[in-house]
Symmetry: D2
Subunit: 275 residues, 4 copies
């Protein structure tokens, strides 16, 4: 069982939580907590043995916590996800492979593409591929079609695996902190379009990738994971793109791993990640 707690900090929270667990005879397998002293905010993640009455435990926990406490008590289970992609195969394929060998920590329900380029690879793995083209459509129409498909499949998260369309505020608001994107730069450097071109022009010596939650500020959502690799003057834009794909794939995989194991909290447009 995984228990996530976020609330205002005060003296004795750890004692209160662990005391309740001890009283109920629930064995804590691991416990992580963190206090943001500036924001006066307390975060805890407990992995415990299974317990028959999860909702009841949540309610009991709330009685010993500050009134603003956000408590999630859930049996450990595999998340369900929908992946959105465009033409690039590297992130999607990595997800499909892990899904196939049951090491993703989530189950891919379907893949939605705005091009049909990646239909073939999805079919190989027996994953439904739905084409929702954006061509000759208003964003509103495009997104209502996306939404219609999404509604047909259960989903804890939407994963944008190099999905090259910008989503509208209305769409994003329907999935608060439930859409994860991989951006091909070390944000906040090179937000927006063509980050490798920007990086090449600026002559940077390091490039990176950023996995983040999607919010309505483009490329400004809470960052989950970032990694970088060194480059040098010999890298053309193509070389950067090629090297970048490797890091994009790795960063998205790491972020999803953290997310699917319930290790990520969000507040103040930032994340707390209990690795």
């Amino acid at each position: 069982m995984i228990i996530l707690i976020q609330c205002k900090d005060k003296v004795g929270l750890v004692a209160a939580i662990s005391g309740l667990m001890a009283k109920k005879g629930i064995n804590i397998i691991s416990m992580r907590e963190y206090v943001d002293t500036e924001a006066n905010r307390f975060f805890a993640r407990l992995a415990t043995e299974q317990y028959t009455d999860a909702p009841g435990l949540g309610a009991e926990l709330r009685t010993v916590l500050p009134v603003d406490a956000i408590v999630e008590v859930s049996p450990e289970h595999e998340k369900k996800i929908i992946v959105l992609a465009t033409k690039e195969y590297h992130c999607l394929s990595d997800i499909l492979i892990r899904n196939h060998f049951k090491t993703l920590g989530a189950q891919v329900q379907c893949v939605i593409g705005n091009h049909d380029t990646l239909e073939d690879i999805c079919k190989k793995f027996g994953i439904p591929f739905l084409l929702v083209s954006h061509v000759n459509k208003s964003k509103e129409k495009f997104e209502s079609e996306l939404m219609a498909v999404i509604k047909q499949y259960p989903h804890d998260y939407l994963v944008l695996a190099k999905f090259m369309r910008i989503l509208s505020p209305k769409f994003v608001e329907a999935f608060p902190m439930r859409i994860v994107n991989i951006h091909h730069s070390f944000l906040p450097a090179f937000a927006g379009a063509q980050p490798y071109k920007q990086a090449h022009q600026r002559g940077v010596k390091i490039i990176g990738a950023t996995a983040h939650f999607v919010t309505n500020d483009l490329d400004e959502g809470p960052i989950i994971e970032q990694q970088v690799i060194p480059v040098n003057h010999t890298y053309t834009i193509s070389d950067m793109i090629k090297a970048g794909k490797e890091i994009e794939k790795a960063v998205l995989a790491k972020a999803l791993n953290m997310l699917f194991e319930d290790r990520v909290f969000v507040y103040n447009n930032k994340t707390v990640v209990f690795e």
Copy 2:
């Protein structure tokens, strides 16, 4: 106040510890704990507000912990260290600079050299330099002279900052887990002499450095910190040595920082480091 606890694991330890703190009204500023489930061993580090009766608190803590518990309650204070060096300046100078600007987290009491090469730099910073030459002396004689000097200065730790003499079991046993060494390789690769020569000959693509406690198995003591840097075929042994010095300096600095902030536990010839 820093409290370090190490004991056999059992259910309710965190509750017991934090409960006692709450009862006594001591505010926990930060708490880190870790359970090695294989070894069934519990580790905790608490930073709390100051408390008037530190020894009394330690005794009270022991009453709520397993009988094997190792409990250290100590006011936060700067450690006192003695540095041993030979001819290379880079690690020692880094320590002297930090000591001078009071960011080392410890106070250098004196430097002992088996050559006089580094006397000058110590004098610049007003740090006593003691020459204890090993030339034409038995190891026993050499070490008894070292010991005579060491006894004159207070010391929590001995830091071997590129001290190129191997210490005898008798000497090492006098300072259990109190001697820190910087080894110029990514241990356990290239233990022993001339690691860069070994690395060059083997054609590795990465070199590193390791800070560890000194035990009587040469280069086999508990590892505190390791870092690496990429190298390639163009690196001569000299290039590796030059690049290696940078990483040696950084690794030793990081390890000392962890140690001086009471963030390092040792058991089973390994360390738990609460960064």
Copy 3:
């Protein structure tokens, strides 16, 4: 066209080579050279425009080079490879995905497994999978069966993608510097079996992976690529294995990329890699 040259060093080699190219009107697109001054050895890689008479050019080059010169002139072409694997999917899948999307830089001819675990994933990509079990067979018999399969498919290289059998000297000698292995440690640390278990026991703070040519000294062949990741006391052996797989996959991919682009020279049991 790619030209690889390895010979004794002497004054004027670059002038001789580039002069010949200029004389024949062949445009050098890129040229890399390196001199190992200790070994007095010269290495060069030229990428040039295509040229109709490749063998003739090789012969002409030899006339301006020392007598020991090894010269390879070859049109740029995709290598053909055979992959050997056992049960772990991560390295093989990564190769199959790149092969499928034609970004591997080589063509996978077939996969040989000593278990049938990975047959399914090969079939998905239409790659022949050949089961050659080692069970109840002498090494000699096992390898003669391997050899029989290998002979049926063209191959520039054999890639051991987590192939967990040790090959005999006789087998290895049949493919000098043509077998690439991924070892799951930062060699030379933790050669041999169960490197993660060894790493865990030693309490290292960094783990890594090594891609190398296979020779008859186990895990002692020329290293092509190494990468590492930080770990800490919270990592169980399982965690190390999991994290290690990511780096194994990345290291093998990078090594193969260098190899398939003709960027790797071998001498003195080391590699020169022109990245």
Copy 4:
């Protein structure tokens, strides 16, 4: 002798250069070249044996190169530098230590501070410290005083080792590509003031430092070197600043090393660094 060449690219340049060297019997110890194919620009660095007529050789080289060629032929010699600093000691001390032990690759002529904080450490090393306060002065007045001091000491480069004043266009133009700055962020992320505060607020998972030439676009000059380190949610701004100092020191040291060994070319607001 070090020879640096930058010119328009054309077929046969390497042959022309190495041919001339062979003809004159000058042994090339190492040669690096690079062609930016997009910009059609050729760069070469040669290390050769000494030669009596350096200016004459430069003139001869120009006869075999395109008319726009920039050719520098210079005996290997230690550069002379002036360091400007404010209050932070870490970068300056690192430079002073290397200077003292003659491993900087340059000779510090003097240090100019706009505060007197660092006077003491300079004196310890016998380096002239000149206080030029900016308080109650126009930028024009301040810079004319700086200039007056600078004129008294020979200098190949000015090094801004955490010098916290922005220099005017007029001042910068007097030292084109001769002023090196260390910026405490991974540019172009977090240009301008208080980069760590910006980084903390944005919740990045990596922070870095950038050494660059100073131009009149603030923090937009050609980047020489960048390095990064991982951070996480537990880092306060102070922790970031503390961790950042280590990387600032390392990045500036690496950049200066490249510069003082004549390994850095500039064009199109980018650098070519022959490591």
